[in-house]
C-alpha cells in the first residue's frame, strides 16, 4: 500500500474502471469531420486554409492566434467544405473547419511506422519547435500548450518533471490503456521533456489501483537508458490535480495564483508525453488521442477504448460503439467529477476529449437541496483547504472582499465539496461564481496598480 498522496482533503469515489480490460481499437474515419479552432487554452487558432482547398492528413490548417495558442492540423485528407460557426458540446457557436473526408493521405516527412526511436535530438530549441509545430497541448484536461509549459520563464528552474498517470477520475481508462500499450513511447516522451527541462528529476506517478500499469512502466523504465522513477500513489481523488500531485510527489505547495514552476515543478500528463514522443521522434502532429466509451448503464462488452482522430463528431463515436444506451440520463465528456455534461452530442471531438461517459439517472441526478447542517464534510473534502460552506454564504451575501480573504480564487473546481455534501447544496456551482468574482477583483486591482505605476513614470 502506497502512502504517497496529497495532504489536505480529498474523497474516495468508487473508481468504476469498467473498461480497463478493453484494448485500444482504431476508430474508422467518418465522411465529415469538424475541426474546432478553440481546442486549447488561450487564444483560438486562425484558419489558414480556404473553402475548397485540398488538405492532407497532418497538414497545418490553422495557426496560433496568440502566444498561448497552438497549431491545428487536418485529421484526414479531403476538401475543406466550410469554415464557420458550429456548436461545441456546450451548444455555443465556435469556429470550425469542416472537412469532407476523401481518404487518409498523409503529408510528407511523417514516420508512420511502429519502430521505437530512442535517440533524442540534441538541440533543445529544435525539440521545442517540433512540439509547437505539431500542435501538442496538455491532454490531462486543461489543454495548455505544451511548448509554453516546457519553456519556463528565464530565472525559474525546473527541479522535477512529474508525469501524471494518476487517472484519479472514476470510469476513465484511456490513460491506463496507453500506459499498458504504449509504455515505451511514453517513457521516451518523458525523457524528451526531461532533456528540454535540463535533465531534472523525472517521476511517473501512477495510482495503485492500476498495478498492471505500474509494473509495465517499471519494466520499460528499466529497459530504457533514461533516469526516470515510477512512483505508485495512494488512490484518492483529486490525486491527478496539478497542485495535489506536486504536493504528493515533492511535498511542496504552489502559492495562491502561482504556477507550478514557482516551486520547481512541471506536470505533464502521460497522454501528452505520448504526443510529445510522436511529435519529436515521428514528426507526427497531434491529430489522434485515446478516448473511453463507458458508463454505469452500458454493458461491459459494449465499452471501448478508441484511438480517434480529433474532429470526429461525438455522435459518430457513440453510434459506432452501439448508440446511446437505454438508461443513460446524462452524457459526459471527461470524468464524472470534473468532466463536462454534453449538451450537444453532434459536437466534434477536440484535442482534450477523453471519454464519452453515460450515467444513469439514479447515479447522477442531484438530490433536492436542503439546509446546511454544518457537518463540515465540504471543508474536510476540499483539497485546497477551503471552506465551501462559508464561501457559499459569502457568495449569497455578495461579499467579494470576504470571498477573496477566504481564498475563493484558489478553488480548483474538483467537485469534492458538492460530491460530499449531504444536503445537496450546489456548492461548486456557487463557489465557481465566487471564484470568478474574487479573480475579477484581484485583476481589477492589479490593473489599477499597473495604471498607477505607469502614470507615475
Amino acid at each position: 500500500m502506497s502512502k504517497i498522496t496529497f495532504a489536505i482533503g480529498g474523497v474516495h469515489p468508487d473508481d468504476a474502471k469498467l473498461s480497463r480490460n478493453c484494448a485500444i481499437e482504431v476508430l474508422p474515419l467518418p465522411q465529415t469531420m469538424y475541426v474546432s479552432m478553440a481546442q486549447h487554452l488561450g487564444a483560438p487558432a486562425k484558419p489558414i486554409v480556404a473553402v475548397g482547398d485540398k488538405v492532407k492528413t497532418g497538414q497545418v490548417i490553422a495557426e496560433p492566434g496568440g502566444f498561448i495558442s497552438a497549431f491545428v492540423h487536418s485529421p484526414a485528407s479531403g476538401t475543406v467544405k466550410s469554415i464557420g460557426p458550429r456548436k461545441d458540446l456546450a451548444g455555443n457557436p465556435v469556429t470550425h473547419i469542416e472537412i469532407a473526408v476523401e481518404g487518409d493521405e498523409w503529408v510528407e516527412g511523417v514516420d508512420l511506422s511502429d519502430t521505437l526511436v530512442t535517440e533524442i535530438p540534441e538541440e533543445r530549441q529544435a525539440i521545442l519547435d517540433k512540439i509547437k509545430a505539431c500542435g501538442v497541448v496538455g491532454l490531462g484536461g486543461a489543454t495548455f500548450p505544451t511548448h509554453v509549459k516546457l519553456n519556463p520563464a528565464p530565472g525559474s528552474v525546473a527541479e522535477c518533471l512529474i508525469l501524471n498517470g494518476a487517472e484519479c477520475e472514476p470510469y476513465l481508462t484511456s490513460d491506463f490503456r496507453i500506459m499498458l500499450e504504449r509504455t515505451k513511447e511514453i517513457v521516451v516522451g518523458a525523457a524528451i521533456m526531461q532533456k528540454v527541462l535540463g535533465g531534472c528529476r523525472t517521476v511517473i506517478g501512477i495510482e495503485e489501483n492500476k498495478p498492471e500499469a505500474i509494473e509495465a512502466m517499471r519494466k520499460a523504465v528499466a529497459e530504457l537508458p533514461y533516469k526516470i522513477e515510477v512512483l505508485p500513489l495512494k488512490k484518492k481523488y483529486p490525486q491527478g490535480g496539478e497542485k495535489q500531485l506536486i504536493q504528493a510527489v515533492m511535498h511542496r505547495e504552489v502559492g495562491s495564483g502561482g504556477l507550478p514552476i514557482s516551486v520547481g515543478a512541471v506536470v505533464q500528463n502521460v497522454a501528452t508525453s505520448l504526443a510529445v514522443y510522436e511529435a519529436v521522434q515521428k514528426n507526427k502532429p497531434l491529430i489522434t488521442n485515446t478516448l473511453t466509451v463507458t458508463g454505469n448503464c452500458l454493458p461491459v462488452e459494449k465499452q471501448h477504448n478508441y484511438l480517434f482522430r480529433i474532429g470526429i463528431p461525438l455522435s459518430y463515436i457513440a453510434e459506432y460503439a452501439g448508440g446511446v444506451p437505454e438508461g443513460a440520463a446524462k452524457l459526459i465528456s471527461g470524468g464524472p467529477m470534473m468532466g463536462r455534461a454534453i449538451a450537444n452530442l453532434d459536437a466534434a471531438t477536440v484535442k482534450g476529449s477523453s471519454s464519452i461517459l453515460y450515467l444513469s439517472e439514479a447515479s447522477t441526478k442531484r438530490g433536492q437541496e436542503s439546509l446546511c447542517i454544518r457537518c463540515g464534510r465540504c471543508t474536510d473534502a476540499c483539497p485546497m483547504g477551503l471552506e465551501p460552506y462559508l464561501l457559499n454564504r459569502l457568495y449569497k451575501a455578495g461579499d467579494v472582499a470576504a470571498l477573496e480573504a477566504n481564498a475563493a480564487q484558489d478553488c480548483i473546481e474538483c467537485g469534492c465539496c458538492l460530491y460530499s455534501c449531504p444536503a445537496y447544496i450546489p456548492l461548486l456551482d456557487r463557489v465557481r461564481q465566487a471564484k470568478g468574482m474574487a479573480m475579477a477583483a484581484i485583476r481589477a486591482r492589479a490593473a489599477a496598480a499597473k495604471a498607477a505605476a505607469e502614470a507615475k513614470k
Binding site: 497542485k243 452524457l331 467529477m337 470534473m338 447522477t364 439546509l371 463540515g376 483547504g385 471552506e387
Partner: protein, 319 residues
C-alpha cells in the same frame, strides 16, 4: 430524448442528511435499549412521547407557521427526541417531557429557521429549561422498576449527588468496574458508559463524526480532575469518577458532537472540547448543581461562531 446537463461533479457520495441522522439513531440504540431494560415501561413511554412530540411539532411548525415543505423527512427531529428523552430522569412525568419537546423544537430549533440554523443544541435547551422550571421532577432520581432487577442501586441521589452527601473520598470509592457497564441513577441515557462508547465508535467507523471534540473533552475532564484531586483528595473527586459518572460520556459522544452547534474545523473542535471539559469540572467542583454537562455544552455552543472565525482549515499554498 433530452439529457440532463449540470455543472460538475456528476456523481455524489452515498450520503444525505437523512442517512447521517439514521446513523446517529443507530448509534444511540445500544444506550436506549439498556435504559429500557433497566427502567422499564416508564422509560419506553418517555421515549415515545419525546420522539413523537418532536416530530409532530416540527412537522406542524414547518407546515402551518413557516409554510414550507416539511423537514421531518431528514430524521433530525427524531434524533432530538431521543436525545431529549435520554437527558431526562426515568421518572419524569410525560407532560413535562412534552413541554421539554416544545422548548427543544419550537424555541431552540425552529425559531432559528430549522435544522442547521440553531445556535444551541435543541435537546439540551429543552432539558435545561425543564431543569430550571421543574427542579423537583428533574432531580427525582427514584429508580423505577425495570426488566432487570436492580437491588444494588442507589436511590434518591446520583453518584455525583453522593459527593455532597458522603464527601469526595467516599464518593470516589463508589466507582468500580461495574460503573463502566451500568450505573443506575441519573438521566436515562447515562446508564451505560459502554453502550454509549459503542455507539460513538460506530459513528467514528461510519465517519459520521470525528473523534477530536469527544477526546478533548475526556482529556480536559481527566486533566482538571487529576490536578484538583492530587492537590486535595478530600475535597475533589478523581478523574475516573468524573469521567464515568453523570453526563460526560453522553454529552461528549452525542451532544457536543452535534454538527450544527459544534465548530467546523478540527482545531476549533479541540478548543471547543477543552472549553466544555473545563466548564463542566468547574461547575462540578464549585457550582451549586452537582452536574453541569448541559450548561457547559450550551455555553460552548454560544462560543462556536467565534471559534469558527478564529480557527480555519489549513489552506493549500498559504502558510
Amino acid at each position: 430524448m433530452a439529457y440532463i446537463v449540470s455543472p460538475n461533479p456528476h456523481i455524489h457520495a452515498k450520503v444525505s442528511t437523512k442517512s447521517l441522522m439514521l446513523d446517529v439513531i443507530i448509534a444511540l440504540c445500544p444506550a436506549v435499549i439498556v435504559s429500557f431494560l433497566f427502567y422499564g415501561l416508564g422509560e419506553i413511554a418517555i421515549m415515545a412521547v419525546s420522539v413523537a412530540s418532536c416530530v409532530v411539532l416540527e412537522w406542524a411548525i414547518t407546515k402551518y407557521l413557516m409554510k414550507k415543505p416539511a423537514t421531518t423527512g431528514d430524521l433530525s427531529a427524531i434524533v432530538t427526541g431521543i436525545l431529549l428523552a435520554m437527558n431526562l430522569p426515568p421518572t419524569c412525568p410525560l407532560w413535562v417531557v412534552f413541554i421539554g419537546a416544545v422548548v427543544a423544537i419550537a424555541v431552540a430549533k425552529m425559531s432559528f429557521g430549522g435544522v442547521g440554523q440553531n445556535i444551541w443544541n435543541p435537546a439540551l435547551v429543552g432539558r435545561v429549561f425543564l431543569l430550571v422550571s421543574f427542579p423537583t421532577f428533574m432531580t427525582d432520581w427514584t429508580v423505577p422498576a425495570g426488566f432487570i432487577s436492580n437491588v444494588d442501586a442507589f436511590s434518591g441521589a446520583t453518584l455525583l449527588g453522593q459527593v455532597s452527601i458522603l464527601g469526595a473520598l467516599e464518593a470516589d470509592k463508589l466507582v468500580s468496574l461495574q460503573t463502566l457497564f451500568y450505573n443506575i441513577g441519573g438521566s436515562a441515557g447515562e446508564i451505560s458508559a459502554l453502550a454509549l462508547l459503542a455507539g460513538w465508535v460506530y459513528l467514528l467507523v461510519r465517519k459520521v463524526i470525528k473523534p477530536w471534540i469527544t477526546l478533548s473533552i475526556f482529556a480536559t475532564v481527566a486533566l482538571v480532575a487529576c490536578i484538583f484531586h492530587m492537590a486535595d483528595p478530600a475535597s475533589y473527586t478523581g478523574p475516573l469518577f468524573n469521567l464515568l459518572t453523570g453526563g460526560v460520556i453522553l454529552g461528549a459522544c452525542f451532544m457536543a458532537t452535534d454538527y450544527v452547534t459544534s465548530p467546523m474545523s478540527n482545531w476549533g473542535g479541540v478548543i471547543y472540547g477543552i472549553g466544555i471539559g473545563f466548564i463542566v469540572m468547574m461547575i462540578r467542583y464549585f457550582g451549586s448543581y452537582p452536574e453541569g454537562m448541559s450548561f457547559a455544552i450550551l455555553l460552548m455552543n454560544t462560543a462556536v461562531p467565534l471559534i469558527n472565525i478564529k480557527f480555519h482549515q489549513r489552506k493549500y499554498g498559504r502558510k
